[in-house]
């Protein structure tokens, strides 16, 4: 598929470039050389945005070449990606990137000329007239680049890995803004070229850019470290109960999957991911012997378990999360019919985050091994979700969850082999709707 795209691009380029003016005199060749180097430096260490795409601020060099040298120069600088010193790029990938950049550069340059932009180093009086055409060209460059890349990523996606690339979606808007910001650097390079700073311009202009990249890399590293630390701490909380091992992680992923399916924006999906991870942290406040008790529960013990969302809230309240995440943790055991806990909210009174987490939470509980039963099949669990849809769960979310499940799958748990029905064990799990909590009186 990549090869097909490359061939198509090359054909397009051949047609586009047929009537370009390729005459460059000596000073222009120097300019071209500096800009090509600038492009390669920018391109050398991209911010990897996902497994399949990476981002670098190299467009500033292309756009500067557009102003200083015209369409031919822009195309040449863009096509320099072919020589990129990034490691691990296959030749077809390089060819794809080069032709993609060349096409974007060509389109941008044509727009620039069509709107009255002048080729050559800007002189006195060029500003601010040049800004309009340049801004339009920058926008075209960024949009075509993204559109081509996006189309390719959709096309080459393997049928069996239909999971949507969350990190790409998450970063898209941020990158788009950054790219437009960096595109203005192209204009600055061009403008300063006229002011006599020449090559030094490029060096000075690169500084804020590299600093931003450093900060972005630091951010990514911190974010990964943060997620790993949080997962490790949540695992520590789970060690109290053998049967809930991995539960937080799966609920976190399930809730995020459901949130994406119902079209929450990336920041909220990220928040619900954390909320799902932390939803049961309050269980620490419940004595181990109550959690692992196999006999009937007394009223006090029941109350202790039902208090865990509040204890969880108490722990995570000081974290600077979205308030929604806190509400999600506090209310994840409310029911649509109002018979849940801790507050007994009903229907739309229950925060959306809590309704989402409730579905993922119950589904994971049903498909995991428990002391009183082995893991149930996904089909059985889906049937049970449907059965309690409307009374316990939000029907719209149940439908969306089932859709998402069919598309993205669920980590299947092997039913414990040594598991057998033991006498005197009362089926009970606070997350499992098939074995609800009951106080001793109800038996």
């Amino acid at each position: 598929m990549l090869a097909v795209a490359v061939v198509a691009f090359l054909v397009v380029l051949r047609v586009l470039l047929a009537d370009l003016d390729w005459d460059l005199d000596v000073p222009m060749s120097w300019t071209l050389l500096v800009l090509v180097l600038l492009f390669l430096v920018c391109d050398s260490k991209p911010t990897v945005t996902s497994r399949q795409s990476a981002w670098s601020p190299s467009s500033s060099a292309t756009l500067a070449a557009m102003v200083l040298l015209g369409p031919a120069g822009a195309v040449v600088v863009g096509a320099t990606t072919l020589l990129s010193i990034q490691r691990g790029l296959a030749f077809t990938q390089r060819l794809f990137n080069a032709s993609m950049y060349a096409i974007s550069a060509y389109a941008a340059a044509e727009i620039y000329l069509a709107l009255g932009g002048r080729v050559g180093a800007p002189i006195h009086g060029s500003f601010p007239r040049i800004i309009g055409p340049f801004a339009a060209a920058a926008a075209v460059h960024v949009v075509i680049n993204y559109w081509l890349l996006w189309a390719l990523l959709v096309l080459i996606r393997e049928p069996d890995e239909r999971r949507r690339d969350a990190s790409l979606e998450l970063n898209m808007s941020v990158l788009l803004v950054s790219d437009l910001g960096y595109a203005t650097l192209g204009l600055l390079i061009a403008g300063l070229w006229g002011a006599g700073l020449r090559q030094f311009t490029a060096i000075l202009v690169l500084v804020p850019l590299f600093v931003a990249r450093w900060a972005t890399a630091q951010f990514a590293a911190q974010q990964a470290a943060y997620a790993a630390t949080m997962a490790a701490l949540c695992q520590a909380v789970e060690t109290k109960d053998f049967y809930t091992r991995g539960h937080s992680d799966r609920v976190s992923r399930g809730a995020a999957m459901l949130a994406r399916t119902v079209g929450m924006r990336p920041a909220r999906v990220e928040a619900i991911r954390y909320a799902g991870m932390l939803h049961d942290v309050g269980k620490l406040g419940v004595p181990t012997k109550v959690l692992q008790k196999n006999g009937p529960l007394t009223e006090e013990e029941l109350a202790a378990i039902q208090l865990h969302p509040m204890r969880g809230l108490e722990i995570v309240r000081e974290i600077g999360f979205l308030d929604e995440a806190l509400a999600g943790i506090m209310h994840h055991h409310e029911r649509m019919d109002g018979r849940g806990y801790p507050l007994g909210l009903a229907g739309d009174e229950i925060p959306e985050f809590a309704r989402v987490i409730a579905v993922a939470d119950a589904f994971d509980a049903m498909t995991s091994n428990r002391s009183y039963r082995g893991a149930r099949t996904l089909e059985g669990a889906v049937a049970d979700l449907r059965r309690w849809s409307g009374t316990q769960f939000d029907p719209a979310l149940v439908d969306a969850f089932i859709t998402a499940l069919a598309r993205e799958g669920w980590p299947r748990q092997v039913p414990a082999a040594q598991w057998h029905e033991a006498d005197g064990i009362i089926p009970r799990d606070h997350d499992d709707p098939t074995a609800p909590l009951r106080a001793v009186e109800s038996y």
Partner: protein
């Protein structure tokens, strides 16, 4: 939960007040002089002054907090420094005197800080003063030179570039110096260590600010005041990147602080234990001259030092590990280290937690300093707890001192008693 951290917070505030007062008063006098002089001779090239003033105000509005509670305003600083360095606008030489630069910068900063005040966020006055002094320094040194044709309007570009680089470097260092003085005074930390930390934190953003200031100063000659608007964009991108970085750092720390409380909620340790040990360990580490990255790791380790108790099915009575058997202490430390190691990114922290149960002089060799600090801070808090009772603290310190031959590092205990003594006297 409340007593430890709050008492600590108020101590810091009191210290900041006394240390920063001199700086703020000095800066105020400088600004008053600059304003008076500017009012007397009138504003030179007021369109330019207004444009830069607006950029500085916007930058102040968009200020950001770097890790370690450091308030900065990169866009505002870049605007003010560019105004100090400005050679000309559209071919017309720039003629603003240094004191006008100070007055415009001060006015811009004040206007930009007002919305923050209105929103109830206190103005970081000492940070603003440090930024303004750096700008004033650059302006006072560089403005007179712009009248010299060899550097000013007719200069060859590289002469101006070298002069600007030198002046900006000095200005940056001046700002770091002032910030470090204030911080060392407020935190009662060693000045050399604090200055080094400050320079390391400020360096990346400092580069970006300096480069942008120079670019604006050069570009305005050809592009006119449009240069301000254009250079604002890339620096804004840089600032957004930094804001996200600072944000995740803060959330990280908050999360570890919050999750450290699971041992309290689970009834394994006394309320507020993790937080108090964290604060105490950091104060002791600072007393011993540890750098900021080391202190952060120390705080993480201190907050999570009891996380291994989660693996015990039954809490130790009262949760005080100092009273537990040596074998149990060791097992808790090992279990905790195993939990932290799972994160994969905090291995030094895990190592610190693992060695916290080792005696100062024991069969295992010497534990790392951070582990020794946590061992002493933990023992102190197990014995004293949230109590503000002086005699109880004295008794606890006495007990730790008696054990310095084998159990606790005497230097750590000495630092701990200094920290505890400061708390008692309120400073």
């Amino acid at each position: 939960m409340a007593v430890g951290p709050q008492a600590h917070g108020s101590n810091w505030r009191a210290a900041v007040d006394s240390g920063a007062l001199l700086l703020v008063a000095g800066t105020g006098m400088l600004v008053a002089a600059a304003a008076a002089q500017t009012a007397r001779v009138g504003l030179v090239q007021e369109r330019t002054a207004l444009a830069f003033g607006a950029l500085i105000a916007l930058g102040e509005l968009l200020r950001l907090t770097l890790p370690g509670d450091r308030e900065t305003a990169p866009i505002g600083s870049a605007g003010a420094l560019a105004y100090a360095l400005l050679l000309g606008v559209n071919g017309v030489p720039a003629q603003q005197p240094a004191l006008q630069v100070v007055a415009v910068a001060a006015a811009g900063m004040t206007v930009g800080a007002l919305p923050h005040l209105a929103a109830g966020r206190p103005a970081g006055v000492s940070g603003m003063a440090a930024r303004l002094i750096a700008v004033a320094g650059v302006a006072l040194v560089f403005r007179p030179f712009t009248r010299v044709p060899a550097i000013g309007a007719e200069a060859h570009w590289y002469v101006a570039l070298i002069a600007m680089t030198g002046v900006l470097l000095a200005g940056w260092w001046l700002e770091c110096l002032i910030r470090a003085l204030i911080r060392a005074d407020a935190l009662r930390a060693r000045f050399g260590v604090v200055l080094w930390d400050e320079m390391k934190v400020q360096l990346p953003l400092g580069w970006a600010v300096a480069a942008t200031a120079m670019l604006i100063a050069f570009a305005a000659q050809e592009m006119g005041l449009v240069a301000l608007a254009l250079f604002f964009a890339p620096l804004l991108v840089t600032q957004v990147a930094f804001r996200r970085y600072a944000g995740i750092r803060a959330t990280y720390l908050q999360t570890v602080r919050a999750l450290a409380r699971v041992t309290e909620v689970g009834g394994y340790v006394e309320d507020g234990h993790a937080h108090r040990v964290g604060q105490l360990a950091v104060a002791v580490g600072r007393e011993l001259g540890m750098s900021e990255p080391q202190l952060l790791e120390l705080e993480y380790a201190a907050l999570m030092h009891d996380i291994g108790q989660l693996s015990l099915s039954d809490p130790i009575p009262g949760g005080a590990t100092v009273l537990a058997s040596r074998g149990d202490q060791r097992r808790i430390a090992e279990l905790g280290a195993a939990v932290i190691r799972k994160a994969g990114v905090l291995d030094p922290v895990a190592e610190t937690v693992r060695c916290q149960s080792w005696p100062y002089r024991g069969p295992d060799g010497d534990p790392p300093v951070a582990s020794r600090i946590i061992r002493a801070a933990n023992a102190f808090d197990d014995l004293v707890g949230a109590s503000a009772d002086t005699s109880r603290a004295m008794t606890a310190l006495e007990r730790l001192r008696l054990d310095t031959a084998t159990e606790f590092d005497p230097r750590v205990v000495e630092a701990l008693s200094k920290v505890a003594g400061r708390r008692r006297t309120g400073r």
